[in-house]
C-alpha cells in the first residue's frame, strides 16, 4: 500500500516539477511571449534578445532552482534521519553559515578566484562547521541529543556569521555579501551551474542509494548495529553526502535555511517515515518548492526581487515554531 502511495507521490511530484519549471520559464519580471520561450529551447537564435534571456538567465535559474531545492531538501532529510532529530536542517545546524563564512573569506581575500575554487571553499567551510557542531555535541557523550544539536548549530552559525560580518565590514564588501547571504538564485548562470551540477546530481544519486541505510540509522545506533549496519562508517558517508549537497547548493544560491527542515516533514505526511521513500520524495518536493518560492520572489515586489532565503525564513520560522511546539513532549 505504501509502495503505491510513494509511487503516486513521486509521479505527482515529477509532474509538479515540470509544471513549476514551465512556470519559471514562461513567467518572469519581463514578459516574454510563450512561443519565443519555446523557440529559444528548440531552435535558439543568438541574435534574438529574448532567446538569450531565456537561455542565459531563465533556463539556468530554473535548472538551478531544481537542483538547489532538491539538494537542500535531501540534505535535510538525511540529517533528520541520521541524527534522529526532527528539527535538523543545514541552515540550523550551522552548515550554511560555515559555507557562507568560507565564501566571505574568498570574496574578500581572493576576489579573482574561479568559481571552482569558490565551490571548493564552500565545501571546506561547510565541513568545518559540521565538525564543530558534532564535536561539541558528541563530546563525552554517546547519544546525539536533538535539541543540543540545533543549539550547537545555532551557536556555530552565529559565530561564523559574526566572523563573516567582521570580514565584510573590514573589507568593505558588506552590501554584496548581504544580498548573497540572504540567498539569491538570481545570480545563477550557465557556467556556475555547469560547475556544481555534477556534484549535486551525483550526491543526489548517492543519497537515494544510501536511503536504506538512513532508514536503519534512524532507528538508533544500537538498533542499527544490531541490524548489521556499520554505524560509524554509514553515518560518516551520509554526512559526507550532506556536505556535498549543502556546500554545492550554498555556493550556487547562498545559504537558504529551512528548506531541509520543512520539505521532509511535509513529505513524511504523505509517504510515511521510511527514508527509502522520504529521500526521493523530498527530492521532487524540494525542487517544486524552490521553483514556487522563486516565482514568488520574482513577482512579489516586481521589478525588484526578494532574496529567496528570506522567503523561506519567513515561512520556515513559523513552521519551525509549530514543529517545536508539536514535538514538545518528544523533545523534552
Amino acid at each position: 500500500m505504501s509502495r503505491l502511495r510513494t509511487s503516486v507521490f513521486l509521479l505527482a511530484g515529477i509532474a509538479a516539477v515540470a509544471l513549476a519549471a514551465g512556470l519559471s520559464l514562461f513567467v518572469g519580471s519581463t514578459p516574454i511571449a510563450p512561443d519565443q520561450v519555446i523557440g529559444a529551447l528548440v531552435a535558439p537564435d543568438m541574435a534574438n534578445q529574448e532567446h538569450v534571456a531565456v537561455l542565459e538567465l531563465r533556463g539556468p535559474r530554473t535548472l538551478g532552482c531544481i537542483l538547489v531545492g532538491a539538494a537542500f531538501a535531501v540534505a535535510g532529510a538525511i540529517m533528520q534521519g541520521v541524527t534522529r532529530n526532527p528539527l535538523a536542517d543545514s541552515g540550523l545546524l550551522g552548515i550554511n553559515a560555515g559555507a557562507a563564512f568560507a565564501l566571505a573569506l574568498c570574496l574578500a581575500l581572493l576576489p579573482g578566484m574561479s568559481f571552482a575554487g569558490v565551490v571548493a571553499c564552500s565545501f571546506a567551510g561547510a565541513a568545518l562547521a559540521l565538525a564543530a557542531v558534532f564535536g561539541a555535541v558528541s563530546f563525552r557523550r554517546r547519544n546525539m541529543d536533538p535539541v543540543l544539536l540545533v543549539l550547537a548549530g545555532c551557536a556555530v552559525g552565529l559565530f561564523l556569521t559574526a566572523l563573516a560580518q567582521g570580514v565584510a565590514i573590514f573589507f568593505n564588501i558588506g552590501y554584496a555579501l548581504t544580498f548573497w547571504t540572504a540567498g539569491g538564485v538570481a545570480g545563477i548562470r550557465a557556467d556556475t551551474l555547469a560547475m556544481t551540477a555534477p556534484f549535486i546530481v551525483g550526491a543526489l544519486a548517492a543519497a537515494c542509494a544510501l536511503a536504506r541505510r538512513v532508514s536503519v540509522l534512524s532507528l538508533g545506533d544500537e538498533a542499527a548495529a544490531g541490524l548489521g549496519v556499520a554505524v560509524g562508517k554509514s553515518r560518516a558517508l551520509c554526512l559526507a553526502v550532506v556536505l556535498v549537497l549543502a556546500g554545492a547548493a550554498v555556493a550556487l544560491a547562498g545559504p537558504v535555511a529551512f528548506v531541509g527542515l520543512m520539505v521532509p516533514h511535509i513529505v513524511r505526511r504523505f509517504v510515511g517515515a521510511d527514508y527509502r521513500a522520504v529521500i526521493p520524495a523530498s527530492l521532487v518536493a524540494g525542487s517544486t518548492f524552490m521553483l514556487l518560492a522563486d516565482a514568488a520572489a520574482r513577482t512579489l515586489i516586481a521589478p525588484s526581487e526578494v532574496p529567496i532565503g528570506i522567503i523561506f525564513a519567513i515561512v520556515g520560522v513559523p513552521f519551525f515554531i509549530w514543529c517545536a511546539r508539536r514535538e514538545a513532549t518528544g523533545l523534552d
Partner: protein, 334 residues
C-alpha cells in the same frame, strides 16, 4: 562552610570584582593610540591640562568607556535574570531573539520614518525596548504548550525567532541607501554608537533602578529556580514573578540595545562567570553579574580597539567570537 563565612566570602568576591572593573575601566581609558597617565588625569581634574588632552579624555574616551561599562553591566543583568527565570543556563537576550526584535524595530524605523522627523536619541531607545518586549512576550507565549513551558523549548523558539527576525531585518536593510545601511549593519553587529554624554545618565539611572528591583526580588529568583511546583508550594506567584522579572530583564537589554546594538552572548557568558565565582544565590549573583559584565565588556572594547588598530572591530563581533565557543563548551558539558 558556615553561613557567616559564606556571606563574607560573597562580599569579598564582590569587592574584588569591583576592583577588577575599576582596573578595566582605567585600562580602557588608556587604550588607543594615545594613553593617559595618572598625572595627566590629575591635571585634567584640576583644569590645568592642555585643551586637546582634556577633550580626548572627556569628550571622546570617557563617554565611550562609561557607555561600554554600562552596556556590559546591563546585558549581564538581563542575562542573569533570564537564566534565573527560565531555569535555563543558556538563556541570553541575543539567543532568545530579544535583540533581534530590537534590531527589526530600529531598522523599520530607519527605513520607514523620514530622517529628522523624530529625534533618534529619543526614538531608538523606545523602539529598541518595544521590539525587545514584543519578542520576549511572543517567545514566552509560544514556548508554552498545554500550560507548561520548558527551558529547552524556550531556547528553541528563541533561536527560531532570532533567525526569522534577522531575515526580516536583512530584507528591510536591502532597501536602505548606503549610508543608512552601514549604520544599521554596524548597529546589528553591535557597535557602541550611542556613546554620548546625553545617554549616559539615562542608562546609568535606568540600570541602577532595574538592578535595585532585581536585588529586591533576589529571594523570589532563588525560589523560582526550584521549579514551578516547588516555587508555588513555597508561596511564590510564579506567573506574576516571571512576568515582572522578565520585564526587568527586557528593560535592561532594551536600554543597552538602544545604545549598543545587538550584542549576543554577553548576557550568557558573564552570569556564568559570576556564578562560578560567587555561587547560585541571587543576592550575590546579581551584583556579581553586573560587575563581571562591566569588566568583560571593557576588556572586549579594549580588544576591539587595539587588535587590528587603527581599524576597529565592532565590539559585538568580539563578543560573539568569544561567547559562541563558550556557549558550545556549555552545551558539550551539559
Amino acid at each position: 562552610m558556615t553561613e557567616t563565612l559564606r556571606r563574607h566570602r560573597g562580599a569579598a568576591m564582590i569587592a574584588l570584582l569591583a576592583l577588577a572593573a575599576a582596573l578595566a575601566l582605567w585600562a580602557d581609558i588608556n587604550a588607543g593610540y594615545r594613553s593617559i597617565s595618572l598625572d595627566e588625569l590629575g591635571q585634567i581634574a584640576r583644569g590645568t591640562a592642555p585643551a586637546s588632552l582634556a577633550y580626548t579624555l572627556v569628550e571622546l574616551r570617557l563617554p565611550r568607556v562609561l557607555t561600554t561599562l554600562l552596556v556590559g553591566a546591563g546585558l549581564s543583568l538581563a542575562g542573569c535574570l533570564l537564566q534565573g527565570v527560565s531555569r535555563n543556563d543558556m538563556a541570553d537576550p541575543g539567543v532568545l531573539g530579544i535583540n533581534a526584535g530590537a534590531g527589526l524595530f530600529v531598522a523599520a524605523f530607519i527605513v520607514f520614518v523620514p530622517a529628522g522627523l523624530v529625534p533618534s536619541t529619543v526614538a531608538l531607545p523606545l523602539l529598541a525596548f518595544a521590539g525587545s518586549a514584543a519578542v520576549a512576550a511572543a517567545g514566552w507565549r509560544l514556548s508554552v504548550v498545554r500550560g507548561a513551558s520548558s527551558p529547552r523549548r524556550l531556547l528553541l523558539i528563541g533561536v527560531a525567532l532570532a533567525t526569522g527576525l534577522s531575515s526580516a531585518t536583512s530584507l528591510l536593510m536591502l532597501s536602505l541607501p548606503d549610508g543608512d545601511y552601514a549604520f544599521v549593519q554596524n548597529w546589528i553587529a553591535g557597535n557602541i554608537w550611542g556613546a554620548t554624554w546625553e545617554n549616559i545618565p539615562i542608562l546609568a539611572v535606568g540600570l541602577g533602578v532595574l538592578t535595585a528591583l532585581a536585588l529586591y526580588q533576589a529571594r523570589t529568583l532563588d525560589v523560582l529556580g526550584l521549579g514551578t511546583a516547588a516555587a508555588t508550594g513555597l508561596g511564590a506567584n510564579v506567573p506574576r514573578a516571571t512576568a515582572a522579572l522578565t520585564a526587568v530583564a527586557v528593560g535592561a537589554s532594551g536600554l543597552c540595545c538602544a545604545v549598543g546594538g545587538g550584542l549576543t552572548f554577553v548576557g550568557l557568558v558573564c552570569p556564568h562567570v559570576a556564578r562560578r565565582l560567587v555561587g547560585p544565590s541571587f543576592r550575590v549573583l546579581v551584583p556579581a553579574s553586573v560587575l563581571v559584565g562591566a569588566t568583560l565588556m571593557l576588556i572586549a572594547d579594549i580588544v576591539s580597539r587595539t587588535l587590528l588598530a587603527p581599524n576597529e572591530i565592532p565590539v559585538g563581533i568580539v563578543a560573539a567570537v568569544i561567547g559562541a565557543p563558550y556557549f558550545l563548551y556549555l552545551l558539550a558539558r551539559s
